[in-house]
């Protein structure tokens, strides 16, 4: 269905091609997962297949791309959408009308489909993605997962032969991601359509895929059926990709099986007890406390936080977890003082708020200087440090964040991971005692997450971060606070909270496959490393 032959793409002003000699074939009814590090050419491949590259860019293109036997470069772009449907990363910027019904209708209206047929196809598409009941609901009130399902419905309504999804779950919480994966699974089972999914979160999508393709530096370095895709994990490790937990575990145990889910994995007997955690525990010394905090955004809006009480100790590395809308970000902003509680208070030891840094959910909004160095020096300059002192501080922070080589680069010219580290660096240079991070792992690959978290100052008294990433929590938190509907439903060490199935379900958090497997074999391990130690 999709045929890419010897495709090379070079963007104007760039010496190296972004895609080199790419060959890819996706058969009808086949689902192919494409992964690779940021900047490896995945999105360029997708835009070559949907025709955007040939019609809307000045890139030099050689090679051939056909869908259903038709050359995409010779078909008009507006006609191509009957052949290829595309769904992109950010659900908010691909929806442009007021309700799901009008959103799905948009493409059909562009195709001049008659009204009666349009109504039938809208109903069908919304039904396929499970949104038939929200047909007239304002799009702005849908959850992230619902919006992304709507984007899929928009593509499906045009009845394309091939469907391309560009990181469809990277911006979603676990619940939203699960909704999308369920839709993708249904599509795969019910239609004879070629589906290509580009995604960093290999573990989530691999189980649905027929084939897994890995890209690096514009080349397709591996293209294997799912069963063979994880036999050799060397290339994935070298590229810093998020390796699915169970294939990683079984390879490290020296076994030949490569299960992708806990129920596929054979039972292995634990050989030794679980090692003690290496992360330091918090001290009893209080840094501050949240006392009975309630918050809502307007007098007639629902409560976002409903009586939150939380003691914050020196040395706490707190992960705030919970579904979107549970109040995590709001609590973080209340701690930062950018939102004032409607009732209750945040009390800091000594009566004054300690130096505090906040990295907001969209780190790009924290980058407003011309160079990385200026960005990191911004806070010290405004806090009154002299040129020499702030250069010292900035140098140390850039080294810690691994961005010292980028000091004279413009922040907007950097990759997503580098921009995040620059934003974190610009806050660390304030030498905060309290550091707050709002979903620092969203849209980042594993390598970038680890580089950022490893570089966080150890002399910060208190670190609080919101995340959906259970793996990051297992590695970097010594305390987990679960929020649901504006209330704390669990607060304790990660091992205790992440193994509380009932509360995890209430907070819409799904364990990783390694955690699910550990649970099944009766080991309280959170990470693959721990499982390797226990099972080997």
């Amino acid at each position: 269905m999709i045929d890419v032959q010897a495709l090379t793409v070079r963007y104007p002003g760039r010496e190296a091609p972004t895609l080199r000699d790419a060959d890819l074939h996706v058969a009808p009814g086949e689902l192919v997962l494409v992964s690779g590090p940021t900047g490896c050419g995945k999105s360029t491949l997708l835009n070559a297949i949907n025709g955007v590259l040939a019609h809307e860019s000045d890139a030099e293109i050689s090679g051939e791309v056909t869908v259903d036997g038709r050359d995409v470069s010779t078909m008009p772009l507006h006609a191509l959408c009957r052949l290829v449907g595309s769904v992109f990363q950010n659900p908010d910027s691909q929806l442009c009308t007021a309700t799901p019904e009008t959103e799905v209708a948009f493409g059909l209206e562009n195709m001049a489909v008659e009204r009666a047929a349009m109504r039938r196809r809208i109903a069908q598409a919304l039904d396929t993605v499970g949104l038939a009941h929200c047909r007239d609901q304002p799009t702005a009130t849908l959850s992230g997962g619902q919006k992304q399902r709507l984007a899929i419905a928009c593509a499906l309504a045009l009845e394309p032969k091939a469907l391309l999804l560009d990181e469809p779950i990277s911006q979603l919480d676990p619940e939203g991601a699960a909704e999308i994966l369920a839709v993708i699974a249904r599509l795969k089972d019910a239609h004879d359509r070629a589906v290509l999914v580009i995604e960093h979160r290999i573990e989530d999508v691999a189980a649905l895929a027929d084939r897994v393709v890995i890209m690096a530096e514009g080349r397709l370095v591996s293209d294997r059926p799912r069963a063979a895709a994880f036999l050799d994990l060397g290339p994935l490790r070298r590229l810093g990709l998020a390796i699915p937990h169970l294939p990683d575990l079984f390879e490290r145990l020296g076994r030949t099986e490569r299960p992708l889910s806990a129920h596929e994995a054979p039972d292995i007997q634990a050989q030794r007890p679980l090692p003690e955690r290496t992360l330091e525990d918090a001290t009893p010394a209080l840094v501050g406390a949240v006392r009975g905090v309630r918050f809502r955004y307007g007098r007639h809006t629902p409560w976002v936080l409903e009586g939150v009480d939380l003691e914050l100790h020196r040395g706490d590395r707190i992960a705030l977890m919970g579904p979107n809308g549970s109040g995590k970000s709001t609590l973080l902003h209340v701690l930062a003082g950018t939102l004032r509680p409607s009732a209750g208070a945040v009390e800091w030891e000594g009566g004054t708020r300690p130096p505090l840094g906040l990295v907001v959910q969209e780190p790009d909004l924290m980058l407003f200087q011309e160079t990385v160095r200026d960005e990191v020096e911004f806070a010290p300059r405004h806090l009154g440090l002299g040129p020499a002192a702030r250069a010292d501080v900035a140098g140390a922070v850039m080294a810690r964040m691994g961005i010292e080589d980028l000091a004279d680069e413009a922040p907007f010219a950097l990759s997503r991971g580098q921009r995040l580290r620059t934003a974190v660096g610009s806050v660390l240079s304030m030498r905060p005692r309290v550091l707050l991070l709002d979903e620092p792992t969203t849209g980042q690959d594993r390598d970038q997450i680890e580089r950022m978290m490893d570089g966080l100052s150890e002399d910060v008294d208190l670190l609080v971060f919101c995340t959906h990433d259970v793996d990051t929590v297992a590695r970097h938190a010594n305390r987990v606070v679960l929020l649901a509907n504006g209330r704390i439903i669990a607060d304790g060490p990660p091992r205790q909270v992440l193994f509380d199935e009932e509360r995890m379900r209430a907070a819409c958090i799904r364990p990783t496959s390694a955690q699910a497997y550990a649970r099944r074999i009766g080991v309280a391990a959170l990470q693959v490393d721990e499982l390797v130690e226990v099972l080997s």
Binding site: N47, N50, V52, E56, P76, L77, H78, A79, L80, C81, R82, V84, G85, S86, F88, N90, S93, Q94, L95, C96, T97, A98, T99, E101, T102, F106, G107, L108, E109, N110, M111, A112, V113, R115, M118, P138, A140, C154, L158, R299, H300, T301, T338, L356, L358, V360, E362, D364, L365, M366, L367, F368, F378, A379, R381, H382, F412, S426, V427, M430
Partner: protein
């Protein structure tokens, strides 16, 4: 519970076709230009208020409108109070004595304030109507209205899509400001030049975000078949109800009647055309319009 950004589409005004609301906006804009007497301007302001109330505004919207109105009325009154040039005029407050720059001194005149108050009624009528239309019309309805009125599809779509993203841009701007504050930035702490440079720099991420978002939106819509000048169909019928036709005709008739009265009165004043049979109309126009 309605979110703050929701439009009051179920209010009496909200149920009107977008074309009727656009026509209402046009009607009010022309009427306030044609009207001259304080009575007529007051009447238009009252009509604007009724239109506004029929949109059932939320408390937030009322607050926003009240702030705008206070600034508007105060601004117009004060500017007229300062620069009123007609005579007689009574000095209410003298801010500066006569000097080479201000021959009569810098004064606030009683008649100027009153004149400003009357003139601000024009803007009040238009502002209330405009807010009411915005608060009760989804961008989609505007879009369908514009397309049904034969406005170019692509231009209407882009304009309406831009409106849809305004709250996101505002939110991003607020986030940038919060981030700057948390990094220790305080306006004027390091002088005017530094403040100006930082304020301008603060727009950079917002603009970058807007450019990135516009690229994403463009990519999303071209891959759903959007193209300039193509033949399209529409999910929704765009036929006007008889009631809507009646409202449109009533507004048109009233507009034409007022315009005709003003035109005839002007011809009479300019001594171009006078008809004794129209004496009642001349008097009505002079006294009330």
């Amino acid at each position: 519970m309605r979110p703050w950004f929701a439009r009051n589409v179920d209010s009496p005004l909200g149920r009107l076709d977008a074309r009727v609301k656009l026509a209402l906006g046009f009607f009010m804009s022309v009427q306030v230009v044609l009207a001259g007497s304080p009575f007529c301007l007051l009447l238009l302001a009252v009509v604007g208020l009724l239109v506004y109330v029929s949109g059932r505004p939320t408390a937030f919207q009322v607050k926003l409108t009240a702030i705008s109105l206070v600034l508007l009325v105060w601004g117009v009154m004060l500017s007229q109070g300062f620069f009123y040039a007609e005579h007689p005029r009574t000095v209410l407050v003298q801010l500066l004595p006569p000097n080479p720059l201000f021959r009569d001194g810098l004064n606030i005149y009683r008649q100027g304030l009153r004149y400003g108050l009357v003139q601000s009624l024009r803007l009040t009528a238009v502002l209330l109507t405009g807010y009411a239309i915005c608060f009760t019309t989804e961008p989609d309805q505007f879009f369908r209205g514009l397309v049904a009125m034969r406005a170019p599809y692509s231009v209407s779509f882009m304009a309406v899509t831009a409106i849809r993203f305004i709250p996101i841009v505002a939110q991003e701007f607020a986030t940038v400001r919060a981030a700057m504050r948390l990094k220790g930035y305080r306006p004027f702490q390091h002088g005017v030049r530094d403040t100006l440079a930082t304020e301008v720099a603060g727009l950079r991420p917002v603009l970058a975000g807007a450019v990135r978002r516009s690229e994403e939106v463009a990519l999303a819509i071209v891959t759903r078949g959007f193209a300039f000048g193509q033949k399209r169909t529409s999910l929704h019928e765009t036929r006007l109800h008889p009631g809507h036709w009646a409202a449109l005709l009533a507004m048109l008739a009233l507009l034409l009647a007022v315009a005709a009265c003003k035109a005839l009165f002007w011809l009479y004043l300019a001594e171009i055309y006078y008809a004794p049979a129209l004496r009642g109309l001349y008097q009505f126009t002079r006294d009330w319009l």
